[in-house]
């Protein structure tokens, strides 16, 4: 008997959140920002990983929100939480000490090594676009066990051959600066886009195409990527979300359509 699958578009938030949730199998502690990661973690709790624990940049641990959080510092995350830590404790003792297994990150640009740009598009001195900057991503990248990046675009602009600026470096760039400074974390292990799931199995290696979303081909994905991206030997089609996963997202997790359209 097969589980009924949903036909939501691969570019939809539901699809991306469901794919992201599956990455959390067996993970204990997730460092998540707001938005799609929140949906993914909530969905994972209701499906593949009921014990997954969320840690927020704001210092909140073991939150049990009574409503959907609008932001990582939302008061609903604090009321009834297991702990609220100061930022020196959160960034120093929890993150830098190595208590986080998975970090969710967003980015304007991701390169082949999984380095991220969240600072500038164009020139540093007078950028075309001033992006939000590092935030905690520069800490999450080296210190979390591994990082998952979710992109809402898949084109050579978002996945360029060369970053306009490296905000949060891959271990590969740390190695280039000084082999002894390679951080404990794996860096980006997975990039989820509207077209594919990219994997980076080797800590010092490149991203490769691991899964291609339904209706698309490997060549579509390669054509939309800014460098000549490798293809995994076991490349396969991305499993669609189940009808149940989509129902949970729409009817139980984001009932107010805060993140879902």
């Amino acid at each position: 008997m097969s589980v009924p699958l949903s036909d939501v578009a691969p570019s939809s938030t539901e699809f991306l959140a469901a794919v992201a949730a599956r990455q959390l199998v067996g993970k204990h502690r997730v460092f998540a920002g707001v938005g799609l990661p929140t949906l993914a973690v909530d969905l994972a709790r209701r499906t593949v990983n009921p014990d997954v624990e969320l840690v927020y940049e704001s210092g909140v641990c073991g939150a049990q929100p009574e409503g959907l959080a609008e932001g990582i510092a939302d008061s609903v995350l604090v009321s009834g939480a297991a702990a609220v830590l100061s930022m020196p404790a959160l960034f120093g003792y929890v993150l830098q000490r190595g208590h986080v297994d998975v970090g969710f990150l967003g980015a304007a640009q991701v390169d082949r090594w999984g380095s991220l740009n969240t600072s500038f598009i164009g020139d540093w001195d007078q950028p075309t676009v001033r992006l939000p900057g590092a935030g905690g991503a520069a800490e999450i990248m080296p210190n979390a066990g591994a990082c998952i990046v979710v992109l809402r675009r898949h084109d050579p602009g978002a996945l360029p051959a060369q970053l306009d600026f490296c905000t949060s470096p891959s271990p590969v760039r740390a190695y280039e600066e000084d082999p002894r400074m390679v951080p404990p974390g794996h860096g980006v292990s997975t990039v989820i886009t509207p077209m594919a799931v990219l994997r980076r199995p080797d800590k010092l290696g490149e991203l490769e195409i691991g899964e291609v979303h339904p209706g698309l081909t490997v060549d579509d994905v390669r054509a939309a990527t800014g460098w000549d991206i490798a293809v995994a030997d076991d490349v396969r089609e991305t499993a669609r979300p189940t009808v149940e996963e989509v129902r949970l997202l729409r009817d139980e997790i984001d009932t107010v359509r805060l993140y879902l359209r």
């Binding site: 990582i72 510092a73 009321s79 950028p127 939000p132 590092a134 080296p142 740390a174 002894r180």
Partner: protein, 315 residues
């Protein structure tokens, strides 16, 4: 022992302690953001401030648009966790109407700068930045070698604001400040500063504070002035007092896109408003009540009294 009374009003506190050209930190990580104090700085027309804030959100957009700020020291430029700060972007992308100097770190880099400032240290080490372009962008991010034979490690210099302003739930008149919920890096930002202004939802009796000394984030020795300023964090929130005005944040984005609209908003909501009480009145009871929360009290803990002492008092 008569502790000095540090209670004053906001305009007096800002007039006394915030001067043109100073380095000023207004901290609060998505919670307890000292908006009322920022608006008072705008009203008093301060200029050339170096504005320090991990997450310059729309408070930064407002203070920069008002012309108070010549330099920003920060780690994340966005409205809440999403929207753009268009005033900041106009300055940085097009120098419109004039350039804005930006000194940029990551969140933990800023936290470490405050820790170094608070502890009187010449630098603070952190395991970030290896391979990043940030040290190239900001030459104040440097490296030291590990005397125990490990790899080099990046360090940041101390941040020592002339004035740090924080908002909290309560304080006593001598300046013992208590806060709960998300406390961010406020203790560090305050100890790092020469002068500290604390705006609070309520000034309470000393015995309220002393019933729970572990709740005190800033002891009186670290606080220069205390101001009772209910609603002082709106449109951000104060845990247990009022919730975040998310609609306000959404409304800001279109305003932020149009410099004239920003200036119009500042005229209407800051310059034409004498103080926070008038601001809240203008906001209206309905909107304010809509941000109210229902009680969820902490269970008290027992600090105990020595029997002898208790008995002496009884007798």
């Amino acid at each position: 022992m008569a502790a000095p009374d540090k209670v004053t009003d906001l305009s007096s506190a800002v007039a006394a302690h915030v001067r043109d050209g100073m380095t000023v930190a207004l901290e609060g990580f998505g919670h307890l953001i000292p908006f009322a104090a920022g608006h008072e700085i705008i009203r008093q027309g301060r200029r050339d401030l170096t504005f320090c804030r991990m997450t310059p959100d729309l408070l930064a957009d407002q203070m920069i648009a008002a012309g108070c700020v010549s330099k920003l020291v920060a780690s994340f430029f966005a409205s809440g966790s999403a929207g753009s700060l268009h005033e900041v972007r106009r300055r940085v992308e097009n120098a419109d109407p004039k350039p804005l100097e930006v000194e940029e770190y990551s969140h933990y880099g800023m936290v470490c700068r405050y820790q170094a400032g608070a502890a009187g240290l010449p630098f603070f080490p952190l395991r970030s930045y290896a391979g990043s372009d940030l040290p190239k962008l900001n030459p104040l991010i440097r490296k030291v070698s590990d005397p125990y034979g490990g790899p080099d490690i990046y360090v940041v210099p101390p941040l020592r604001p002339d004035v740090t302003i924080v908002h909290a739930q309560r304080a006593d008149r001598s300046g013992n400040v208590q806060m709960w919920g998300i406390v961010g890096a406020q203790q560090e930002a305050a100890y790092a500063a020469e002068t500290v202004i604390a705006t609070v939802e309520e000034i309470v009796e000393e015995d309220v504070v002393r019933s729970d000394p572990n709740r005190t984030v800033l002891p009186s020795h670290a606080v220069t002035a205390v101001v009772e300023c209910p609603g002082g964090a709106h449109p951000s929130y104060t845990q247990g007092h009022y919730d975040r005005d998310n609609a306000f944040y959404r409304e800001w984005t279109p305003i932020s896109r149009d410099r004239e609209a920003v200036l119009g908003w500042l005229e209407e909501w800051v310059h034409q408003v004498p103080d926070r009480a008038a601001y809240l009145a203008k906001l209206g009871a309905e909107r304010w009540d809509g941000l109210g929360v229902t009680p969820r009290l902490s269970q008290p803990v027992d600090f105990g009294r020595r029997r002898v002492a208790a008995q002496e008092e009884a007798s």
